[in-house]
């Protein structure tokens, strides 16, 4: 079997073997979203106003907390070392891994955001804009957080360290997305901003796997 085939089969088996990982981000999102009214106020007008931003931040956190585990188990068990012996460049394997991660963990998460939107009474048109921004932005976010995860593999117990390292880099994405959301609630044109967001994602998805590959090799080399 080709390396790609084995790789994808394994990712699929892992999802099936750890159903918890699949549902956890969604669960986290909904929980955090339902904590917001408790801490703030049940007033649905106020909630609707800040709702889309809250959902964005919560989704971001849910993503990040999941991404932290991207390479860790394989690193600890020594499976990651074996990637180097496959007859493929490392960045290609990283691309495969990240694509699987996006497909299996991120897309399902995006699909439950409308539920969160309902709970915070976010208007429908804003919700649609939110969905589109998430779909466009998450490839870039996934790549960035993978880089964070890869960089902090060798550290004592990184936990969310990788996330923190990368969070500042998310600022442009967040600002763009917030722009889209404000415009959507105004009813003005959002296409140019969406195009920018998409371009950012494409650039990230082509360039960052190389960096992730280098970071992985560094950490494998440093462990004994």
């Amino acid at each position: 079997m080709s390396v790609e085939h084995r790789f994808l089969v394994r990712e699929l088996k892992l999802v099936l073997a750890r159903p918890g990982d699949f549902f956890k981000p969604m669960w986290f999102l909904i929980l955090v979203i339902s904590m917001v009214p408790l801490a703030l106020s049940p007033d649905s007008k106020l909630l609707g106003e800040i709702g889309s931003a809250m959902i964005w931040v919560a989704t971001l956190l849910a993503l990040l907390l999941n991404a932290d585990q991207l390479f860790r188990d394989d690193f600890v068990d020594g499976v990651l070392e074996q990637w180097l012996f496959f007859n493929r460049p490392l960045f290609w394997l990283v691309i495969l891994k990240l694509f699987c991660h996006w497909l299996f963990y991120v897309v399902p998460l995006i699909l439950v955001t409308p539920l969160a939107g309902m709970m915070l009474s976010v208007p429908n048109d804003v919700m649609i804009a939110l969905l589109v921004t998430l779909l466009l932005a998450t490839p870039a976010l996934t790549c960035f957080s993978a880089l964070g995860a890869a960089l902090t593999l060798g550290t004592a117990r990184s936990g969310i360290l990788g996330v923190l390292v990368m969070l500042p880099l998310f600022a442009p994405v967040i600002i763009l997305a917030a722009g889209v959301l404000t415009r959507a609630s105004d009813g003005s044109d959002i296409l140019p901003l969406l195009a920018l967001l998409g371009a950012f994602s494409i650039a990230a998805a082509t360039l960052l796997p190389l960096a992730v590959g280098v970071a992985l090799r560094l950490n494998i080399g440093g462990s004994s």
Binding site: P19, G20, F23, L31, S34, L38, P42, S44, L47
Partner: protein, 246 residues
């Protein structure tokens, strides 16, 4: 005598055989009652003078919401039995109750929020009762998640029992605090309607349905307990006999 009875209850084989019979009885009775109650409620009960026909959701919503809470209490009883008497069957019961209870909670939440649309004009408000129901749903979800995450069934059972007990101590506190919270901010207009004085033709079908849903829950819990028992006792001789028999 009494102790033997108790012992028999703890024996999976005995329970498996009995539960099969009870389950069938519950199923048929439930089907009959629900058919009567629901048809009556949907077609024959008079329309509400305020809410019109939308109030007919009550015949599903109220029994289901009631059961969602009752099943959690049943689960807490199971947890105590598991800790005090180490009865394996209690653990099986807890597992079955969590799934069924979660199903009922989801149903109560969705039926309530659909009902909310015609009455309040929105699917969801942060009302006290709704919020505590939501939290109950999360508790159920936590139990299911915890159990599925721990592979060893004995360990999973005890871990879930701890969680159930902590949850049951906390539930009244949650309920109280949520009520107080929503009273603090909430305009009174969105409170669930106080129970109006209903004519008998309205509440009799409700009662029938309540009984029906109780039996449905019993049916589901018994069926699911039998499945779990079968899976856990797969090494024992009696399971093999049972399987060879049919």
């Amino acid at each position: 005598m009494g102790w033997r009875w108790f012992h028999e209850w703890g024996s999976p084989k005995w329970f498996y055989d009995r539960a099969g019979r009870w389950q069938r009885v519950c199923g048929f009775l439930a089907l009959a009652l629900l058919l009567v109650g629901t048809l009556w409620g949907l077609g024959f009960a008079p329309a509400d003078y305020q809410q019109g026909n939308s109030y007919r959701i009550i015949y599903l919503h109220v029994p289901v919401a009631f059961l969602a809470q009752a099943l959690y209490v049943a689960m807490a009883v199971c947890a105590i039995v598991l800790f005090v008497w180490k009865m394996k069957l209690a653990d099986v019961g807890m597992q079955a109750l969590a799934v069924v209870g979660f199903g009922f909670t989801v149903l109560a939440l969705f039926s309530g929020s659909i009902w909310g649309k015609p009455t309040w004009g929105t699917y969801w408000v942060w009302d006290a009762r709704l919020t505590s129901m939501l939290i109950l749903g999360f508790l159920y979800l936590g139990l299911i998640g915890l159990r599925s995450a721990i592979k060893n069934p004995d360990l999973a059972g005890k871990a879930c029992a701890i969680l159930v007990l902590v949850g049951v101590v906390n539930l009244p506190i949650i309920k109280y605090s949520v009520e107080w919270w929503s009273a603090l901010h909430q305009p009174a207009s969105f409170k669930l309607t106080e129970k109006p004085a209903m004519p008998a033709s309205m509440w009799v079908p409700l009662l029938i349905n309540l009984l029906g849903y109780y039996l449905v829950a019993a049916y589901l819990v018994l069926a699911s307990m039998r499945t779990v028992i079968l899976d856990r006792e797969r090494g024992s001789a009696w399971v093999r006999e049972v399987i060879e028999r049919d």
